[in-house]
C-alpha cells in the first residue's frame, strides 16, 4: 500500500493508565475508501485507540497518521468526522443549532452549512423536528443527529464508535444503510463495534483487539474460514434435553443452549448429525429442526479473543 493510499496508519501505538496498558504497541493500516471494522470485547482498548486517532487523547508511544497528518493535529481533525462512544448533542440546543455549531467549529460557511444541514436532516429523518430541543429527542433521534453532526463537514474519513449500540431497529437500519452509502460514495469509515453481524454486513476488513493487542486483521469471511474448528450443529427437539447429556455425545466439543435450540460445536458435523438422529430415537424425542452451521464471525471473534493466538 503506497503512502497515498493510506487513510490511517498506526505504528507501535501504546497508551498506559495507572500501570495498565490499555493499548499495547499496536500497528495497522486502513486504506482510503475502505470500511474498516475495529472489534473487541469491552475494555479491549477499542475506544482508547479511537480517541488517540481522533486526537482526543495522546498516546504514550508510537504514531498515528490520518490522511497523512499527525493524529490530533488540526489538519487531521479537519478531514475527520467523529461519532464518539456515548457522546451527546447539546440538550438545550435544537438539532439544527447543534448542526450549525459543528459547522462553525469546522469552519464551514453559513450558507453551505445550512444547505448541507437540510439535506442531512432529511436523510436522517429529522427534518420535521429540526427546531425541537435535543432533550425532547428519543435516543435513536439523538444518535442520528450526532451522526449528522459528524457529517456536516463532509469529512473524508468517518470514525464511528459503537454508533448503533442500544438503538431501536429503525434507527439501527437507517444508520447502517447511511454508513454503507457513504462508503459507496468513497468515504473511508472506521467503525468500532462489538456487534458481529454489523461488522460482517458492513466491513471490508476487520481488526480484532483484545487486552490492548491486535490479534487478527483480515476480511470477515477469511477470519470466519480461518477458525473452521468452530463449526457447529444446531438442533431443537420436541422436549427439553439436558445439556450435559448432549455434551457427552461423541465429537461434541461444547454445547450452548440458545432459546429452545441447542448449538453443538464439533470438528465432525456430518458424524454428529447421525449421532443426534440416533440420540433422538433412543430417547423417544422428535427433532424439530437440524442445521449444520458454518462458523460465524462471532465464533471467530470468540476463538481469537479467548485463545489469543497470533493470527496477524
Amino acid at each position: 500500500m503506497s503512502v497515498n493510499d493510506k487513510a490511517i496508519e498506526v505504528r507501535n501505538l501504546t497508551k498506559r493508565y495507572d500501570g495498565l496498558t490499555a493499548v499495547d504497541n499496536i500497528c495497522f493500516e486502513v486504506r482510503k475508501g475502505e470500511l474498516f471494522g475495529f472489534l473487541g470485547p469491552n475494555g479491549a482498548g477499542k475506544t482508547t485507540t479511537v480517541r488517540i486517532i481522533t486526537g482526543v487523547i495522546k498516546a504514550d508511544d508510537g504514531t498515528a497518521l490520518v490522511m497523512g497528518s499527525r493524529a490530533g493535529s488540526l489538519k487531521a481533525k479537519q478531514v475527520a468526522g467523529v461519532v464518539p462512544e456515548m457522546a451527546n448533542a447539546y440538550n438545550d440546543l435544537s438539532g439544527w443549532k447543534n448542526l450549525l455549531l459543528m459547522a462553525e467549529l469546522y469552519g464551514i460557511a453559513s450558507g453551505e452549512a445550512k444547505e448541507r444541514g437540510e439535506v442531512l436532516l432529511k436523510d436522517l429523518g429529522l427534518l420535521e423536528r429540526k427546531d425541537g430541543l435535543v432533550k425532547t429527542y428519543s435516543k435513536g433521534m439523538k444518535q442520528r443527529l450526532i451522526l449528522g453532526m459528524a457529517l456536516i463537514s463532509d469529512p473524508q474519513i468517518l470514525f464511528l464508535d459503537e454508533p448503533t449500540s442500544g438503538l431501536d431497529v429503525q434507527s439501527t437500519r437507517l444508520i447502517k444503510s447511511l454508513i454503507k452509502s457513504l462508503n459507496d460514495k468513497g468515504k473511508t469509515v472506521f467503525l468500532t463495534t462489538h456487534d458481529m453481524d454489523e461488522a460482517n454486513q458492513l466491513c471490508d476488513r476487520v481488526a480484532i483487539i483484545n487486552k490492548g493487542k491486535i490479534v487478527a486483521i483480515d476480511a470477515p469471511e477469511r477470519l470466519r474460514i480461518a477458525t473452521s474448528g468452530r463449526r457447529s450443529v444446531e438442533v431443537s427437539f420436541t422436549d427439553s434435553v439436558s445439556v450435559n447429556n448432549l455434551a457427552r455425545l461423541p465429537s461434541v466439543n461444547e454445547v450452548q443452549k440458545i432459546g429452545d435450540k441447542y448449538r453443538l460445536y464439533t470438528d465432525a458435523p456430518g458424524d454428529l448429525v447421525v449421532t443426534l438422529v440416533n440420540f433422538s430415537a433412543s430417547n423417544k424425542l422428535k427433532i424439530i429442526s437440524l442445521n449444520i452451521l458454518a462458523p460465524s464471525l462471532e465464533d471467530a471473534f470468540v476463538a481469537l479473543t479467548e485463545k489469543e493466538h497470533g493470527y496477524v
Binding site: T54, Q78, A87, N91, L105
Partner: protein
C-alpha cells in the same frame, strides 16, 4: 497554513464556542437574576445602616456584581460538558484546547461586562457622576476578562461534578470579596490589610471605580490597569497549562 490564518480561524471558532456557552449556560433567567441579586443582597447586608453616600457605595457594588457574574458560570462549564458527554465531541473538532478555553472565557466576559450596566444605571439614577466614562468602560472590559479567566482557573480540577467545582470557587471568591476594599476603602485599611488586598485583582478594579466616581483612588490608575492586565495574563497561563494536564482525564 500560515500562523496568522490559523490564528484567525481559531479565533472565529472560539466565538462559536462562546455563542454556544451563552445560549446554553448564560441566557437563562435564573442565572441572570442570581448573577445580579446575589451580590446586591450581600452588598446591602454590609451597607444598610451605615448611611454611606452613593458615590462610596456604587464602586463596591459594581465591583462585586462584575466579579460575581464573570466568575459565576465559567467554573462549571467544562465539568458540566464532561458530565453531559459533549466535551469529547468538542475535543475531536478541529479546535485547539486554547480555543475552547478562550471561548469559555469570552462568554463569561460578555456576561459579566453586560450585567455591569445594572449597577452603573443604579448609580446614575442615584446621581453619581463618572469622571471619565471611557476609562471606566476600559476598566470594566479588562476586569471582566480578568475575572472570567480566574473563573476558568476554578474549572481546572479534574472533577466532572459541577457542585465540587462550585464549592472550590465559592471558597476562593468570598475571601477575595472581603479582602478587596469592597466594603472598606483601601485608605482606611491597616497596612497588613492593604498588603493582603494587593493580592486580589478585584482590589484594582474597585480602586479605579472609586477614583472615577468618588475621587478617592488609592493607587495611580496606571498601576491599577497594569495589575489587572498582569493578573489576566497569569490566570490565562495557569488555566491553559492546567487544562492541558487535566482535560484528557475528564474523558
Amino acid at each position: 497554513m500560515s500562523d496568522l490564518v490559523e490564528f484567525r480561524q481559531q479565533f472565529w471558532r472560539s466565538l462559536a464556542v462562546a455563542r454556544k456557552d451563552i445560549r446554553i449556560y448564560y441566557a437563562k433567567g435564573p442565572v441572570i437574576i442570581y448573577g445580579v441579586l446575589m451580590p446586591v443582597f450581600l452588598f446591602l447586608a454590609f451597607t444598610i445602616g451605615r448611611s454611606l453616600p452613593a458615590e462610596s457605595m456604587i464602586p463596591g457594588l459594581l465591583g462585586m456584581i462584575l466579579f460575581f457574574t464573570a466568575t459565576a458560570v465559567s467554573p462549571i462549564v467544562v465539568p458540566w460538558e464532561a458530565q453531559a458527554r459533549t466535551l469529547e465531541r468538542l475535543m475531536a473538532a478541529p479546535v485547539k484546547l486554547e480555543t475552547i478555553i478562550f471561548g469559555d472565557v469570552l462568554a463569561s466576559f460578555i456576561f459579566g461586562a453586560g450585567i455591569s450596566a445594572v449597577p452603573i444605571i443604579i448609580g446614575l439614577t442615584l446621581g453619581i457622576t463618572i469622571a471619565s466614562p471611557g476609562i471606566l468602560v476600559l476598566a470594566i472590559v479588562l476586569a471582566a476578562f480578568c475575572f472570567a479567566a480566574l473563573g476558568n482557573v476554578f474549572s481546572t480540577p479534574p472533577t466532572n461534578t459541577p457542585a465540587t467545582v462550585n464549592m472550590i470557587a465559592a471558597g476562593v471568591r468570598l475571601p477575595i470579596v472581603f479582602m478587596s476594599g469592597v466594603f472598606i476603602p483601601l485608605d482606611e485599611l491597616p497596612a497588613w490589610g492593604q498588603n493582603i488586598a494587593y493580592a486580589s485583582p478585584l482590589t484594582y478594579f474597585i480602586d479605579i471605580a472609586r477614583n472615577l466616581m468618588d475621587g478617592q483612588g488609592h493607587l495611580p490608575l496606571v498601576i491599577d490597569f497594569l495589575a489587572i492586565v498582569g493578573f489576566t495574563v497569569v490566570f490565562l497561563i495557569i488555566a491553559m497549562k492546567l487544562h492541558h494536564r487535566t482535560m484528557p482525564r475528564r474523558i
